[in-house]
Subunit: 317 residues, 2 copies
DNA sequence: CTGTTAGCGCATTCAG
DNA sequence: CTGAATGCGCTAACAG
């Protein structure tokens, strides 16, 4: 008991006793058992957040979101437990593993923005989604404000004088597609450009490679190598990467001949574009942070929270 | 007690009782508490591996290593707890947090190959390093066999007829530098090329951007745009990415004018090179898997285990 | 086959 | 200020 007090409420101990206990702790390198603390229920050792992480393998850039959950939680004295999952729906075993940790709150995070079904078993606890949305309403979720992100970016591009955009969009079925279109339209409208006049191509899958090149080739062929577009708006940085190489290899200069705008701001990659890529940042860190705070502060706002996507101003426009 | 048996040794129960218990479990959606199980010490619920993960923020590609730890452990009924760390040496708090989970074994993993000092407090438990090495001997570690990886790749390139390589290497102080040089020399020697005759440039920092372009520019200027090298051996895919864009923008064709060889095989990126990048794969998944098995099988082989780096044959050579 | 006892490590409560 | 009793959820060991 005295040891317990030495650790949790040292001020309640006689200084001499405290010193002695501390020496013992030191020499034995004693550390209290988290399991034993948790079992008692008295949350003196901090509560626990359980995190489901989807798509970590395929989209590692987004791990920032997990790091921010971990950081934010720890700053508030909470513990975090991350469970990587590779498929949805979650298997019963996976859910049980999560629940067996007795989390005080659950974060469901997807590295790739998606909509998904939340198993009822999870709704018994405080739950928040990060970078994903629930098919059913009544669940708090934090997602990138793609509408505004795309709007801001295109608006800035337009302000710089570009007038003839070509868009290579994410697949139409993706959650972001519609939002981005709205943002684009809003910016276009403000500049007095009719949406119908802008060239658009929707990728059919997430694989950007072949189609991006094919579309660019088509556009360039039509105009004998001189692009009729002066701004290439890409659904993500991966598309932009492919486009860059293709454009560069055709002797086109970026941004002199054509400006390029990405989306995502892939950590450690976007800076390596030649020239460095102007893009819109997916706010992974913020997503994780806010979702975590939602849990910690026991907020009751079971709706969609839009997190701003800052425009990252580099040299491709 | 009967519930405990229903879960752990159902065959010891009367089928009727079992059914009843299971119904109760179902209707209450009861899941045993991991903490309570762990506290008892009897490892009926599986042991626990604690993982320190360093550099996760800056090098997210390597998360595969963490996923394989998680998978491998789970396949063997072990639990995993990952603790991301952002700096070394580890702070006492971080170490305590790890220890408070009472792990049965510890994996120290670095996303970026490095050498580091292991705090004595950790050596009290079974310990294994993944993608990093200890400054002191006597610690088991699993690291990429960069010597052989570089050797294999250059050998294959030489077999394809390339004869005048230019190497843009990792910084000289990096752990991989020497190994790669040895592999390179071995391949060169086999082909009868003297190491002195090959052009080499060592990056001064991990930031590839400026120096890579400057070096390429220098080389091309010397020879009036016609490269005297027919093979560009890059210390990593990021260097290759920068080089690609520069070469392409100078009207050079890959691999017709110059072949490019990367290193790392960055997931989701190397495929997007135009043309797709031939590179050497850093075996993150294997690193994690073997390190984990080392712990699970309680191996006693406290030395460096070299894990092969497969050559990934794409279209840049 | 099922139930009882006991104890894992900790912290709340109450006694000294 | 310090200690003893108690119970958290679970299961090994033993009793019925």
């Amino acid at each position: 008991m005295t040891v317990s007090r030495a650790i949790n409420t040292p001020e309640k101990l006689n200084p001499e006793t405290l010193t002695k206990v501390r020496q013992a702790i030191e020499s034995l390198s004693y550390v209290p058992s988290l399991s034993a603390r948790k079992i008692r229920g008295g949350h003196s050792s901090g509560k626990t957040i359980g995190v489901f992480a989807l798509d970590t393998a395929t989209t590692p850039f987004a791990v920032e979101m997990l790091l921010s959950v971990e950081r934010t939680a720890r700053e508030h004295g909470w513990n975090v437990f991350i469970l990587n999952v590779f498929e949805i729906p979650l298997t019963p075993q996976t859910i049980e593993l999560m629940l067996s940790h007795r989390p005080d709150g659950i974060v469901f995070s997807a590295m790739q923005l998606r909509e998904l079904e939340i198993p009822p078993a999870l709704r018994s606890k405080p739950l928040v989604l990060s970078n994903c949305m629930s098919t059913e309403p009544g669940v708090a979720c934090y997602v990138p404000d793609d509408e505004d992100g795309q709007y801001q970016a295109v608006r800035q591009a337009l302000q710089r004088g570009y007038r003839r955009p070509l868009c290579i969009n994410l697949p139409r079925h993706s959650l972001a597609w519609k939002l981005r279109q709205q943002g684009l339209s809003r910016a276009l409208a403000e500049a007095g450009i009719t949406p119908e006049s802008v060239r658009q191509y929707d990728l059919s899958t997430d694989d950007a490679y072949g189609e991006t090149i094919a579309e660019l080739e088509r556009q360039l062929r039509e105009s004998h190598g001189k692009p009729v577009f002066d701004l290439l708006v890409c659904g993500n940085d991966r598309i932009a990467l492919v486009a860059y190489q293709y454009l560069l290899s055709r002797g086109l200069r970026i941004p002199a001949d054509v400006a390029v705008l990405g989306y995502d701001n892939m950590v450690g990659i976007a800076e390596l574009f030649y020239p460095p890529l102007s893009t819109v940042q997916l706010p992974y860190y913020e997503l994780g942070r806010r979702a975590t705070q939602h849990l910690i502060e026991e907020r009751d706002e079971p709706f969609t929270h839009w997190v701003p996507c800052p425009v990252v101003d580099r040299q491709s426009w």
